[in-house]
Structure formats: structure tokens, C-alpha cells
């Protein structure tokens, strides 16, 4: 509570003011920042690169096998083959989604990020938008190219406009929504390996578990799991009628379910991010 010690360091008459003009920061600034972040780490290139490779190689491979086989496909379109590339691609999307936020916790970068932008909701929103648009664009483009090749290669029914839309934009949106769910889980768990494990478990375990439900008492649970497991939903995205049994989602419905789930979990992530210590 006393005057400063050394006269040569006496307080300057006026407190320092940053010469850089200040205005209210907004979402646009956070978006620019998050775009720089996501494009400047190698994990983005790796996960997206591997994803593109898997979608292309598996998509073309399956189409080539189908083209050389004798089985006729008058009823179905070739677009359904897109599923085979979509499942492995979803693992890459999950990884990227989780890393987008959890790597900040792993490195301690999150503290710097939140010091620069104390509105935590804005940070998460910017991350979600940048991530969603990136994944949606890349997967839609790749899915479209692969679908075109599949339709050209395989002798099958001519797809309708709606089927085209679901196999391209629908695939992109579904994977991007799955990615958003991963981003939300990454925000909640704050640990890359942990969150990726949880998401891959969510992706694959329901089907595996359903396979082992022999008991009659568990019949309804088993059916529910078979219908609503993420891989089944992906298959349903390509089909106008429920692919397993009489009810269950089909067409655009799986996308709504995934989008809704991602939104709910993301809301939880917002609440936690806002209330927790960093």
C-alpha cells in the first residue's frame, strides 16, 4: 500500500493504452481464428486425407466387384454402395471432430483461446461451424464423385433425384452431424483418446452387442439396436423403405435423428463449457 520503491520506475502519468483500436469482437473473428487453427495442424490433413482415400478406394472397389458379378440389380440403384465407404469414413470424421476441441485441452491451448475470446459459447460455435462446413464440403464432394463412378460402373436401376440427393448431400450432412456429435463429446470429455474411444464405441458397440442377444426376453432390445445403430442408420439413409423389418427410419429420417442427437449433446457441451473451470 506504499509508493513504488525505485524513483526511476515511478508510475507513468497515464496508464498505457494499446495503440491498436478496440471494437467489439464478434463471431466472424472467432471463425477466422478457428479456420486458421483447423487448417494449420497436420492432423486435419491426415484424417481428411485418409477419409478421402477410404471413400474412394472402397467405393470404387465395391462397384468394381458388383460390376463383374452376375447378380442383377434391377430393383436397386448403385448408390447404396456408398455405405461401404461411409462407415470407415465416419471413423476419420469422429477423430477429427474430437481433436478439434480435445487437442486444445491436451496442449493447454484452450486457456490461451479462452483468454483471447472469453465468450465460450462463441468459441464453441465457431469451432462447430468451421468444422461442420469443412467436413460437409469435403464429404459431399467425395461422395458425389464416388456415386457418379458407381452409377457409371454398375448396371443397376436409375436413381431418382431424391436418391441422388441423399447419397451426396445427405451423406455429407450425416457425416458432418456425426462429427458435430464427436466435437460435443470431445468438449464434454476434454480428452482426445477418451472421447474417440467413446465415439467409436457408440458407433460399433450397439451392433456387436445386438449380435450376442440370443435370449428371447431381449428380442425387442436386439431389434431396436439393429434398427437404430449408427451403421444401420447409414444403410437406411440410402434406402426409401426401412431396410430392416417394417418400421424404423428410412430416407432422410436417419439424418434428422443424427442431427437431433448432435444438437442435444452439443447443448450439453455448451452448458458444461460455460460452467466449468478450464
Amino acid at each position: 500500500m506504499t509508493a513504488p520503491a525505485h524513483p526511476q520506475h515511478a508510475p507513468a502519468p497515464h496508464a498505457y493504452v494499446s495503440p491498436i483500436p478496440v471494437r467489439r469482437a464478434h463471431l466472424g473473428d472467432a471463425l477466422a481464428s478457428e479456420w486458421t487453427k483447423i487448417r494449420s495442424v497436420r492432423s486435419t490433413m491426415w484424417t481428411l486425407g485418409v477419409m478421402i482415400l477410404l471413400m474412394v478406394v472402397i467405393g470404387l472397389g465395391v462397384a468394381a466387384i458388383a460390376a463383374s458379378s452376375e447378380v442383377s440389380m434391377d430393383e436397386e440403384t448403385a448408390l447404396g454402395f456408398g455405405f461401404f465407404g461411409m462407415l470407415p469414413a465416419s471413423i476419420c470424421v469422429i477423430t477429427l471432430g474430437v481433436l478439434t476441441i480435445a487437442s486444445e485441452y491436451g496442449t493447454g491451448m484452450i486457456r490461451t483461446t479462452l483468454t483471447a475470446c472469453p465468450s465460450r459459447a462463441r468459441v464453441l460455435t465457431a469451432k462447430a461451424i468451421v468444422f461442420f462446413l469443412l467436413v460437409f464440403t469435403v464429404t459431399t464432394v467425395v461422395a458425389t464423385l464416388v456415386a457418379l463412378a458407381q452409377v457409371a460402373l454398375v448396371d443397376a436401376a436409375e436413381p431418382s433425384a431424391d436418391e441422388w440427393l441423399r447419397a451426396t448431400v445427405g451423406t455429407g450432412a450425416y457425416l458432418a452431424a456425426l462429427g458435430l456429435l464427436s466435437l460435443a463429446i470431445g468438449t464434454i470429455i476434454r480428452h482426445s483418446a477418451g472421447a474417440i474411444t467413446v465415439m467409436i464405441g457408440l458407433l460399433l458397440l450397439p451392433l456387436v452387442a445386438a449380435l450376442f442377444m440370443f435370449s428371447v426376453a431381449l428380442k425387442s432390445v436386439q431389434e431396436w439396436l439393429f434398427t437404430y445403430a449408427i451403421p444401420s442408420q447409414m444403410i437406411a439413409l440410402y434406402s426409401a423403405q426401412p431396410p430392416f423389418g417394417e418400421d424404423g427410419p428410412a430416407g432422410w429420417e436417419p439424418l434428422l435423428i443424427m442431427g437431433g442427437t448432435a444438437a442435444v449433446v452439443l447443448a450439453g457441451a455448451y452448458a458444461l463449457l460455460n460452467s466449468r473451470d478450464v
Partner: protein
């Protein structure tokens, strides 16, 4: 200007920060001192709105942190943990921060130059040495050219050249009228850098004083004596009204006396002296005395206990740095 009022943080039953109230003023370097686990980093995280206080408030120029429009232009911080993404280049690490606060790209180049990292701007920060990482952290703090700067143990792991650089940087920044708040657990370091001192122990405020006052009040000066005739020497000193403290190893310490007076006294009594020197207790000692009751992680001899670095257990017996020593045999 940073103002803390009744700032408290509890983790479960543990109170890490306990009703801290103080102000950090512009134009000077304010040292924030406390032993390991005293709550320095926790306090700083609450100042930056990273951790929520259990109670109490922090105001930055009268505002809550969240009310600052572009915070990096008001306050820059270097936290104790490496707070950068190692897979990103130094330039991009700074660029993404700059963009979030609309700081021009040219400023990124500028601060990289300022901390001497221009040559490695494109390199991933993962490969940086401790000192380079610290410089990058300082660059990020300076990015918005802010009025307030906060450094959590900035000299940790730096070589003497780096320490010298940071010390001068902080003084220069303060001289421009900025508010500089720097934490440390090294009193000796603070004595060279800080103008004002805030000491905490176990989360509680122990001192809020100017450095000069602290030095004046806390550096005890005394005379150190060694003699083969220790018993007789002590009796003579007692007889002449001096208070003698035995410091172990045959050393006697006398407060409030000059070497001249004691040397003459020994000569008059025909006593042999092996040492007669004026001593000044180090500030480090004063600091440890002050926080003694509040040190959380003591080192216990051979007891392997926890990982936290702790001050030596027997600081009372050690002699501090000697300033203005005069020795004469008798």
C-alpha cells in the same frame, strides 16, 4: 489496474485461494510471491476468467474479464503451462490468436521479432526448447500491445541470458506505464525486478508492500563470529549486553552490533577470532520466515514425499548472501 476483492477458490474442502484482496497498479512491476502450492496460478487463472471463483471478484480496469471487448488488447498473459498447440507453427499459433481479436498480421511478425523468434516462425512449436517456448508465450502476451501483462513464473527454466532479457523487458514495459504482474517463488529474482510485492501463503495474503519497505523491514543485519574460545566469547558478549544467537557449527550471531565494536571487545579480552563479519540476512530468508507457517509441501529429510519442489527444511541454519562483508582476524 487489476483489483481483487475477497477472491476465494475452494477445491472440495481445500481452500486454494482465501479471501484475497489487493490491487495491481500501473507503471510498476508487481511481484506475486508464494511458495509452491500457495495459489498463485489459481489466482491468475481466476483473474483471466478461466476458473470461476467460489466467491469474490476480479476487475480489470473496473470491468469483469468477460466484459472486455477484445481482451488481448487490454491484458496479455503467459501462464505456467505451455498453452500452445505444438503441431502448429509459431506464426500460426500467434495468427489464430491475433485473428480472434482483430490484431493485424503485421503485429504477429512484430512480436516474433521482439522476442527473437523470427528465424523459427515457420517451425512447429513442439520442437522448441523451454526458453523458446517461453519466448513464444511472451510473444502471445504482447500480441495485442496490452496495458496489463501477467506472467506466471516467466523465468522458469530460462538460462541466465534469458532471465536477464525477461527482467529488462518487464522493467521496460512497466516504464511505459503498463501494469506488470509477475509470479515467482524466488525472492531473489523478485528483488531484482519488482517494485511492489504481494506475498501469499496457503492462499492468504501475507504482505502487500513496496519492495523497498520489504527489504528495509526484513533484512536483519548482524555480525557473525567464530572463535576457538566460543564459551568465553559468549560470556564476554553477554556481559557487555549483546544478545547472542548460536547458529550451529561454532558460529555466533550478534544483532545490533558493529564489527569494529565486537573486534575491539575480543581484543580487549584476548580472544582469538577466526571469523568476524557483517552479515545481512537474505531476502530469501525473510520470505521463507514469512511463509514458514504457510508452506504446504515441506521436504522431510529422507522421507520421499510427493513430487513438489520445496524449500530446504533447515533454512534457519543457513546463512544468506553476504553483503558488505568485512573480516578481520584478531
Amino acid at each position: 489496474m487489476i483489483e481483487l476483492e475477497g477472491l476465494t477458490k475452494r477445491y472440495g474442502t481445500k481452500t486454494a485461494v482465501d479471501h484475497l484482496s489487493f490491487q495491481v497498479r500501473p507503471g510498476v512491476v508487481t511481484g506475486f510471491l508464494g511458495p509452491n502450492g500457495a495459489g498463485k496460478s489459481t489466482t491468475m487463472r481466476m483473474m483471466l476468467d478461466l476458473d470461476n471463483p467460489t466467491s469474490g471478484t476480479v476487475r480489470i480496469d473496473g470491468k469483469h474479464y468477460r466484459e472486455l471487448h477484445e481482451p488481448l488488447k487490454h491484458i496479455g498473459a503467459l501462464l505456467d503451462a505451455k498453452a500452445m498447440h505444438g503441431g502448429r507453427s509459431a506464426y500460426n499459433n500467434l495468427l489464430c490468436l491475433a485473428q480472434s481479436n482483430r490484431i493485424p498480421r503485421s503485429r504477429v511478425d512484430e512480436v516474433l521479432g521482439l522476442v527473437g523468434l523470427t528465424a523459427v516462425a515457420g517451425k512447429k512449436s513442439k520442437g522448441f526448447s523451454l526458453g523458446m517456448g517461453q519466448r513464444l508465450g511472451i510473444a502471445s502476451a504482447l500480441l495485442g500491445d496490452p496495458e496489463i501483462l501477467m506472467f506466471d513464473e516467466p523465468v522458469n527454466g530460462l538460462d541466465p541470458e534469458g532471465i536477464h532479457w525477461i527482467r529488462n523487458l518487464m522493467k521496460a514495459l512497466a516504464a511505459e506505464g503498463r501494469t506488470i504482474f509477475v509470479s515467482s517463488h524466488l525472492m531473489s529474482e523478485m528483488a531484482l525486478t519488482a517494485d511492489h510485492l504481494i506475498v501469499i501463503g496457503q492462499g492468504k495474503l501475507l504482505a502487500d508492500t513496496s519492495m523497498a519497505d520489504f527489504i528495509q523491514q526484513n533484512s536483519r543485519s548482524y555480525v557473525r563470529l567464530r572463535s576457538p574460545q566460543q564459551e568465553r566469547l559468549r560470556d564476554v558478549l553477554h556481559a557487555n549486553g549483546f544478545t547472542v544467537v548460536e547458529a550451529g557449527g561454532g558460529v555466533l550471531e550478534v544483532d545490533g552490533a558493529t564489527t569494529e565494536k565486537l573486534g575491539e571487545l575480543a581484543a580487549e579480552n584476548g580472544l582469538v577470532l577466526h571469523e568476524l563479519s557483517a552479515q545481512r540476512a537474505s531476502l530469501e530468508e525473510a520470505f521463507m520466515q514469512m511463509t514458514a507457517g504457510a508452506v504446504e509441501y515441506h521436504a522431510h529429510g529422507t522421507d520421499v514425499h510427493g513430487g513438489a519442489a520445496a524449500p530446504g527444511p533447515q533454512w534457519g541454519a543457513t546463512t544468506g548472501t553476504t553483503t558488505g562483508t568485512t573480516s578481520e582476524g584478531a
